[in-house]
Structure formats: structure tokens, C-alpha cells
Subunit: 268 residues, 4 copies
């Protein structure tokens, strides 16, 4: 690795040096700026005459990110591994839409291109790179992923049956329940207690069944909270004891342990 590469590697990939930290901070500010630009662009009422400047800002950020992306590929030892890694893909997704806007550009397709541009928002995922404290929460979610999966499966079955039942009840009298997919949407909105109110039962029987769904659903919906909480309780209840076995150097001994559970040697 030549000195320039090593220098750049420190700057771009390592956050331990002062320069590396500054680089990362600059990157975050740039990401936030580009998100704000996308948001202002989408709303004509905020700064109507700013279109020209927004385009310039957009291109400036895109070019900076492109340079960064190329540098990252050039610097790392195994470029292929970076390119197909989670962040490699996101880094590419963050710059592609602006260039795609040039190629696909045309008068009719303009709106679609704008939409493609908006996927630049995935740039924000870069921020997750800087999050380290998330591990406890993440592991709680990962450990309980099977239970959450089963729960979601049960919810989907419930939603399908409830939605269809409500379609049968409400459809003849209520044009909001105009198809089963629409009724399934209503069932999800109701079971998750979001309750927009764009679709609501109007018949007596429909309201009665909807009430049953809400109350029964509420008792069931307590389950994901229970799953995550019990994982977190288990995790936080895990002994913080930091004793290390003097013989096999294993950690994780209970408070009352007198002997290492891995090698049987006496703990101190």
C-alpha cells in the first residue's frame, strides 16, 4: 500500500484520527444537506424560485459523493468485496439517481425521473455506519425474530379472515369496503390501532364485529411488546459480573459461581 493510499484510507475508512473524524462529520453534514435539498425540491411552496440553486447543490453533492465512491474503491484492498457489501451498494444507490436523470431525461418521463432521483434518500443509511450503541436493541430483535415472525404470520391470517368477513358484512351498504384487498387494508389499519377513518363500518353488525376485532386485537397486539420486552429483560438481567476464569480466560460467570463452568477451575 503506497503512502497516499494509506493516508486516504485513514481519512475515509478510519474515524480514530482527527482528520478522519472531520471527514466523517463533513460527510454527515453533506448527507443532511442533500436530504434537505430533496425535500425543498419536492415542495414548490417553500422556496419557489430556488430551483436553479437546488439543481446546483444536488450536482455538487452528487459529484462529491462520486469522488468519494471512486476513492473508496481505489483505496480498499478488495474492491469487489466493498462494492458488493451493504454500504458499497448504498453508496452506489446514493449517486445513481442523479445520473439516471440525465439518461432517461425527457419531457414526459420527467416526473418518473424525479421519483428516481428521490431514491437518493438512501444516502441517509450511511448514517447508520456511525451508530454503535444499537447492538443491544438489535440483538433483542434478532433473538426474538422467530417469535415476531410467528406473530406477524398469525396477524396476517387474522387480517385476511377479518377483512373478508367485514367485506361480506359491509360491502352491500358501504362503498368504502369496495373489495377484499381494500377490506384487508382496513383490517391492518384497525388491528395496528392506526385507525385513519378513511374506511369505517357503517352497519350495526359491522360496527359490532369491528369492536370485537379491536378488543380481541388489542389483547393480541400486546404480544410483540411482550416478546421484545422479555428479551430486553433477559439481556439486562444477565449478570454484569466481569470475572474472568484464571485458567481458561472465559467470561460470563454467574455471581454465585465459585468454579469456572467451562473448565472447572476455581474462580477468584
Amino acid at each position: 500500500m503506497n503512502p497516499v493510499k494509506r493516508r486516504l484510507h485513514q481519512l475515509i475508512f478510519e474515524a480514530d484520527t482527527k482528520a478522519g473524524k472531520r471527514f466523517d462529520l463533513f460527510l454527515i453534514l453533506l448527507i443532511l444537506l442533500s436530504i434537505v435539498v430533496v425535500m425543498i425540491e419536492s415542495d414548490d411552496t417553500i422556496i419557489p424560485q430556488a430551483d436553479k440553486w437546488l439543481v446546483i447543490a444536488e450536482w455538487a453533492v452528487t459529484i462529491l459523493f462520486t469522488v468519494e465512491y471512486v476513492l473508496r474503491i481505489w483505496i480498499v484492498d478488495k474492491p469487489r468485496k466493498y462494492i458488493f457489501s451493504f454500504f458499497g451498494v448504498i453508496d452506489l444507490l446514493a449517486i445513481l439517481p442523479t445520473y439516471l436523470g440525465l439518461i432517461v431525461g425527457g419531457s414526459q418521463m420527467l416526473i418518473v425521473v424525479r421519483a428516481l432521483r428521490l431514491i437518493r434518500i438512501f444516502r441517509i443509511l450511511k448514517l447508520t455506519r456511525y451508530v454503535k450503541e444499537a447492538s443491544a436493541l438489535w440483538s433483542a430483535l434478532v433473538t426474538s425474530r422467530n417469535k415476531i415472525g410467528v406473530f406477524l404470520f398469525v396477524v396476517l391470517i387474522l387480517v385476511t379472515i377479518m377483512g373478508t368477513v367485514m367485506y361480506i358484512i359491509e360491502n352491500p351498504y358501504n362503498e368504502s369496503f369496495r373489495s377484499i384487498p381494500e377490506s384487508l387494508y382496513w383490517a391492518i389499519v384497525t388491528l395496528t390501532t392506526v385507525g385513519y377513518g378513511d374506511i369505517a363500518p357503517v352497519t350495526m353488525l359491522g360496527k359490532f364485529v369491528a369492536g370485537l376485532i379491536m378488543i380481541t386485537g388489542y389483547a393480541i397486539i400486546a404480544v410483540p411488546t411482550g416478546i421484545v420486552t422479555s428479551e430486553l429483560v433477559k439481556e439486562s438481567g444477565r449478570p454484569l459480573n466481569t470475572r474472568v476464569c484464571p485458567s481458561c480466560l472465559e467470561e460470563g460467570h454467574d455471581y454465585e459461581a465459585a468454579f469456572c463452568k467451562y473448565c472447572g477451575n476455581k474462580l477468584q
Copy 2:
């Protein structure tokens, strides 16, 4: 049991063999297909000219399920037991509506027949047959069913009283609260925090009482979550390992433990 029966029993009732697995997968795909057909059928805007094909698909699935149902009855040793079992009833409910559509068919009853047809959605319940991981969640719900029952009972009393009080307050000024059952529906929608907004208080006093219901209700509604969570915590805290140290006879060893943490002897 003759060889054909044994072969079919393996295919249909057992999921351990390769053929049995393939059969089950085919069944699941068929169930999903039939649900999609019902959904498309209910919505004229998705594929308007597909009616003919949907009818064919519906009949194809119904006939396949009928053959399967008859085979199941023929194969098992105690047909009566299967027919009146949970899945036997569901298997029958899954094919009946299509045939009922033929018998009850007529010009005026057409809509009702369509509705009956839709109950075919119960076919999806077949899927639960393949769920095994749900036992932990299920046992948590079963263990806490008494507490959840008491909770639901209290909620129903609260809903009845609150709904009536709001009817007394709002009825003269708000045509949405036009009867007590309607007010009870509102109370359920509010207590479960669904909040459609199709019925909402308009008077000052009504809004004040509704606010009290929401806040008080919110403190109370935490109960089902608490019930389920405490069950899951208890369950996850339960030592799943019943190994006893052969030397000191102490219990409570972790899964990964190779040596007793109390006396240092080897565990078996």
C-alpha cells in the same frame, strides 16, 4: 392398511418424506392462489375481463381440494374423528361455498351466494397446520387467559358506562352519538386508541370527558401488555436445563456449562 393407502397416508398426512413435503408445499401454493383469486374477483378494477378465468381457477382449486378431502377421509383409520376435528371442519368449509353457489344460485340471491363463496378464505387456516414455533407464544397467551379475560370484562364494563355517559352528554348536540350502541362503538374505538374519527365529541364537556377516557384508558390499557410480557418473562427466565451436578446435586446450570459452578466437578 393396504399399500396404496399407506403410500397416500405418507403423502398427505406426513411431512417427513420428500414427497410429503412437496405435497404440502403444493397445497400451500394452491391455498395462496385461491385466496388471490377471491381477492381479484372481489375487485372489478384490477383485471376486469378476467372473470371467466377466475371462475375456472376457482373450480379447479375446489375440485382439487375436494379430491384431497375425500382422500383424507378414505385414508385415515377413524374417518369420523377426522371429519369432526378442527382441520376436518376447516377442510370442509374450504370447499362447501363453491358448491353452495350452484344450489342456492338464482338471480336475486347472487350477491349473497358470492358472499358465501368468500368464506372459502377459511382455507388459509390450513396454513396454521405448518406452524410449530408458535407454542411459546401460545402457552403465554393460554397461561394468561384468565387475567386477559378479567381485563376484557373490566374493559367491557368501562366501555358500557363510558359510552352511556357520552351518549347522555353528546346526543342532544351531536347526531353521530345517535344511540347507546353507537356510543359503545365509539368508546371501544377510543379506548383501544384506534380512533377512526367517524364519531367524535363536539361539545366542550364531551371533549373533556373523552380526554379523561383516553388518559385513564391509556393507563389501564397497559394491562394486557403487562400480562403477556410477564408471562413471557417468566417463561424465558425458566431454566430449560434440568441437569443436576452429580457431585453436589446443585441445579441451575447454563446450557454451555461443562463443569459445576458450585463445586467444580464435571457435569454430565
Copy 3:
């Protein structure tokens, strides 16, 4: 106590004998009937021509409950204690409205009298007399009543400040936020995640602040669930050990206890 009184006492106050059980069941059915009557009465669309029969049913139930109330007073040893007890007051509230309807009756006051009649719904509270399993949930709520109180106090302060801030932001552009009490109502509807949508922010700044309220509020609203759950976890974790001290007869000893913690005697 004469034999008639003793007989009636067994019938009305005790639920252990066969006759007493039947009496209680009859009472519950009567309560449910009277609630259904009130509901049908309030909605003219269910059975329009049933008014006459509903009045008769109402008076029949009222007279039966009056006889029961008088008997209860006559039977018990300390009538005054019963009259001013929780259920004594409810029993009176359950029969008063119908009689009040006679006295206050008039053409203009009719609606108010109807409202008074509806308080008969408190009859349902009689049902709680038959609930015994509720103690665990109740004690969890009672133990955590201080924490829930503090939480509700904090929520009320938050609601007052947030409601006022939103009134300042939204009032000039949104006639839904027409006064501070109205804004407080909105804040409660939002913080408890009910979200009717009858009042919703329309300005950019209002929506931004509302979003902050929702997210921050959501993190805070987890607190009551946490309070109730931790109480239930503590309670369910409490050893079910039923050993009784042979010396002082106290219960509630831990599993590992070898000596009574109250009197110091050896446990068996």
C-alpha cells in the same frame, strides 16, 4: 334471626347454596336484560314499535330490583352499613332513575329524565360482585398507583404546554384550533395515539411540532406499560411457596429459607 330471614339471607347474600347460585344467575340475566332494553330504547331504528314493551320490561326489572333492595335492607343485621356500602349505593342508583322519571316527568324535562334513566346502566357494576380472579391485576394497579399518578401528572403538564404551543402556531391558519381547551383536547388525542383527525395541524411548522409531539410522546407513553408490567413481573416472580411457619403460622417464605423470617423458628 328468624327462619324466613335466614332462608332469604342464604338466597340473596350467599352464593354457596344451589338456590343462592340460581338467584345470582337470575340477577345477572336480569341486569343484562335491562341493559339491552336501555340500548334498544335509545335507538329508534332497531325495533321502532317496541316502545310499549320496553316500558313494561323497564318497570318489571325496576320493581324486581326494588323488592330485592328492600329485602336486602330488611335481611342484614346492620342495614345502615349495607345502605352506605359500595354495592348498597349502586343498588340504589340502579332503581332510582326510573322513579325519578315519574316525579320530574313533564314535557320539557323529558330528555333530561331519559338521561337520568340511562344511569340505570350502573346496574352492570353489580356484575363485579362475582369477579374474584381480578385481585392480581388489581394489586398490580394499586401498587403502581403512585407511579401512574406521577406519570399522568407529567402527561397533563406536557399536554397543557404542547396544546398551547400548537394553539399559538395553528390558530391563525386553522379554525380547528379555535381555543386553548380545544388544543389541549387535540394534544390528549395525539399523545394517547387515538388520533381522531377531527382536529389536525395544517401549517408546515404545526405538522413539524405535531410530529415531535408524536415521537417524543410515544417514547414517554411506554411508561405506564412499563410500570404495570414491572409490577406484574415482580408479582409473578414472587415464590409460590406455600410453607407455613409451624410456630407463628406466617406465610410467604422464600424457597431457600430454612428459618421463619418473622419469628426465627425452623421451617419444615
Copy 4:
């Protein structure tokens, strides 16, 4: 410190003496009164002709609070420290708006001045001075602030991406999703299960994605509850009693224990 100052210090700053308690109670009543005045003032329909009296009440409270504020500065040993303390700033914020109304007063600015006046609501924060039981809840929130922070960060990223995706899907067919900030507002309203319904998807794909957001979101939204609950469980499980048996030196005795449960000796 002269005797007058010491007397006033006892009255205003200390709540232990009888006079001090009365002063604090008077202050709370005054705060509540001024909040009620602000609320009535904002709503013309409650007491239309009360404007004059409300102005007088407002000025009376403001002058009393000003006197109190000046006295506080005069009494304390280090006025600067009080002025820049949390409650010093709130005490000032509680009286400033009324005076600012005089200076900025004018015909066009009237509404803005009213808005400034409303910040007087911060007076209510004074109430927190009297809350002492909140410590357990507060410490649970403080301990879990990092986890809640990470959670809120993840929620914000999710909201940004989901909002943009829904903008791309819904914008051409639904004028409610008229800009990305608007869509982000929708995403927050949906993820927190508030669900006003002022913005709701109308396209099939939009409803499908919205359903995914609700269900996925619901599984994720269980996290803050889990965080707070696990903290409270940990805290409530913590043995608050540190008594050690004088005989066998064992710990973990219950509060009500009079004798050691391990050796039977008397506890101190």
C-alpha cells in the same frame, strides 16, 4: 441575613414551616387560576363578556408573580445563581409576556402579542417543584436514554425512507402527499399509530406499502416500551434492603423480616 429576609426565605423557599406550606399552596392555586384565565381568554364562546375581568385577573396574577420574583432575587444569597437557574428562568418567562404585550402593543401585532402572552403557560412548570415521587420513573428514563436515542434515530431514518417511498407512489394520484415533508409527517402519524386520516393513501400499491409500514412499524414500536419496562423491572428487582445477618452474614432479607431466613438469628 437580617430577620425580615430570613422570615421571607422561610416563607418563599422553604416548604417545611406551616406558613411556607400555605404560601406554596397559594402559589399553586394562583398558577392554576392564571392557566384557567388564559384558556377562557382564548375561547370567546365560554364567557363572551368576561374580557375586562380576565384582563384584570391577568394583571393581578402578573403583578403578584413579579413581586414574588423580585423578592426571590432580593432574598437569596447569590441572586445571579437563582436568575440563571432552571426555575429562575421559568419564573421570569412566567411574567414577561404580559409586560411584552404593553411594549409591542399595536393593532396589527395584537395576535402575535396574544401568542407571546400564552407562553405564561410555562408557569405550570413551577408545579414540578413539588413532585418528589417521580425519581424512580425519571431514573428509568435516564438510564435508558441512550437506547431510546438510538431507537428514535432508527425511527427517523425509517420515517424518512418510508415517507419518500410513499411520496413517489402516491404523489401523482393523491394531492394529500403533495411534498416529501408532508409525506414524512404522514409516516410519523402512521408509525406512531396516531393515524389522523387527514393524509391517507388512495392507490392500491400505496395502501399495500402503508399496510407493510403499519405491521412492520408495530413490531418495531414495541421497542421503547421494552426499553422502559426492562429498566423498571431491573430497578424493582433490585434488593432495596442491604441488611446483613449479624450471625451468618447473609444478605437479601425482605423488609418485613425480623429474623434471618438462613440461620434463624435475629436481624437488627
